[in-house]
Amino acid sequence: METIRRASGSLEASLGLGSGTALALTWLVVLLSVYLSLQLFQVMSGSALKKRRSRGSAAMILGQCGAGKTALFFRLRDGEEAQTVSSLQPLRDSFALNAPQAPDQKLGPIEVLDFPGHMRMRGKCGDLLKEARCIIYMVDSEDKPKLKDVAEHFYELLTHPDMLELHVPILLACNKSDLSSARTEKFIVEEIEREIEQMRVSRGATLEGQDQAESYLGIDGEKFKMAEHACCPFQTCKISAKKNELEPVYDFLMQHYT
């Protein structure tokens, strides 16, 4: 205050203005400079953040409707079997994990995010990718027709700009492996690869004037291999949320949170 009054006094003297005008003018200058410096700070911090962009902190559970995402979520959190229906909105919670195979080792509070699998919601999961540290992709091992949708989702995921930048590791968890009609991991991965191969012909042929040409997956003329051509670390495993056979998931989480 005192400095401002003094400055306005000097302004008054030097320019021969009225005291009121001088004071107002001084205040104006002070406020303007504060505003400008704030703006500058924002721009600076923005660019700095962009440079050091890193993965988020959440373990994201993705997959199709009925694959067992919500069931896994509650298994991880409460260790109990939960009755579930199709989710309408994402579920997120932070909790400590207790791996059954290593009871002494506690996994610090992890934020787990269960995203609904319905096709209508799918568009929104891309926005959350930057918050993910790793992705657990649930697949219903019994449901072969759904694998088409899974492949399509994978195509979208693997060509997503955030994914290409952050390389979020994916664990393909083939759920419901306790069922007798469950397919093997190998079968599921090959099926997905085959579908993606077909898809890259149609996706690669973008329509004229399309705003964002989707990137081509894999190498042209070569068979698409998930483990080789995906932009991120890719693992597969066999689990059963119902029978609580979740060791690979715990291992995967251990790997990324310790």
Partner: protein
Amino acid sequence: MIDAFYIFTKGGLLLWSTQLVKVKGNPLDRLIKEVLLEERVGETFATLDSYNLKWKLLNEMDLFFVVVYQGILQIAYLEGLLTMVAKEFVHHLGNGFGAGMTIKHVEFDQDFLRCRQKADKELKDSRRQGGMRSFENTKKGADVQKNREEKGLPAKKSKSGADGEKDDEDEEDAAAKVAEARAKPSKVKAKDAEPPKPKKGKEARHWDGGKASKSLMQELDFSKNQLDEADLAAKQAEFLGSGDEFEAEEVASLSSGSDEDKKEETGRVGGLFKSLTRQVKNVTGGAVLTEEDLEPILKKFKTELMTRNVAAEVADKLSDSVRKSLVGKTTGRFTSMASTVKQALKESMETLLTPKKSIDVLRAALAAKNAGRVYTIVFLGVNGVGKSTNLAKVAYYLKHKGGLDVLICACDTFRAGAVEQLKTHSRCLDVPLFERGYGKDPAEIAKSAIAHARSSGHDVVLVDTAGRMQDNEPLMRALAKLVAVNNPDLVLFVGEALVGNDAIDQVSKFNRSLVDLSADPRNPRGIDGMLLTKYDTVDDKVGAALSMVYVTGQPVVFVGTGQKYTHLRKMQAKEVAGAPEPPEIRSIDQIEAISHGLRRQGSRHFLPAQLRHGRLLRFAKIKLDTSNKTNIGKSGRPP
């Protein structure tokens, strides 16, 4: 009556459920996928799998309560039950609910049983009372009673007043006579005004062989049943009143009026404070949204949607759905209510426009080719929307991008020049055309075209049909036959992006005709997707797309954006749902397309969005003016 009851969270955890009767199929899953996820929360009940479902959404806790029943039940009963269970359940959870998902298994059976019994009892009571309400129960009855009580005191006073003047007595006598003369009506009134008495039930009257004993006659003679003096005085005071009383009453009413004023004032002060806090919260966030807050905001957004060419019905339902999903929610930090609503609306529009199934036609066609099948697409729509043009675009896309062998089939055997138009396209695209001239049965032509494609090794057959208005039943029947006979892989409805309210009429009637007249009633075949044409001519991209998608639940597969074969795009849900784009007008053709659309649709389907847009029309005028001038300059004669 009730088959099942479910309580679940939005996050997908089934907290509690009961099946009183074994439920066949999975109506709950269908409810979630086909109603709740399709932004139809605003509706009140759904019929799925021969079950009726009614639900209640508690936004504060993100809880859904769903009751499944068969047959007809009173809505009031169901609503009562849902509200009661919701209240009881929230009470049951207490504070342990926290983040909305800490409960694993809830013991709620007893409470539910209690709720149900209570609701049943209420239903029974309401049925018993079903006929007429007794007068005392009505509002008027209550008023009368209140009046009586108020006036009772002064009336008695006037009687007990020791003066006992003659004038008064005379008056009383006269009044008594009047009262006698009007015995009946006054009696009725008197009855009305009487305090509630337990009704003496009706007794059966005995008719002993038509003869009536004297006592019985006396009993039956109600005319002598006179009011006694005291009663009469009371009545008189009540119905006639004295001057004093009137004054007193007036004073009383005045004072009560001022009382009310006072109350109102305090209310207003409280209201002012309240609204002030609300205003502050509106800025800082953290306000709990109520119906009253949302009403004006949603009204504004609804009008905005309608000016963006969304059909009125759809705008209505969408804003209803948004309202239902927001009431009880708390706004985020530093977000105003308006921006919260806007965000919710944008998100629900985006969700709607996101296709719920694969719209990759090329991939499906390639898969069919690998499986050794012929992939068939049928294009249908009203006249002049651009079916043939966009069929040619799709043919170009499949041929050049997918390397597929395409066959075009001309099933427009009605409009003059239709086949020739396709012939031109087929020459330009170097794609074979299958035609059998005019006047033949289109279903048969399509069938032989598919057979021809199979034998000669074509991969894809694109079937062009004649344009028809949705109300023309014989033509719709013919179309349904074409679809039923050939069972195409994809039935594409071609619609203009220009239409507003008519969009839902067109697409729903086409869909219904196909479903109603389909060959297999158990597995009806409707429209599989939409192709929006003249998409480049509208600046509010969302209108027709949103309306059509909402009505059919099917995705927009392609949008046509120009006159060239390459002008075919896929719709980006995010872009479209966002802010309206500035108009881009590139050529006079686009304006012609618009004016053509206007002319064709006539005054009934007025296009507010296009006409309102002064910029567009101004542009059109300038363009037309300049073109006229050049005409004059060149030919040297007036146009």
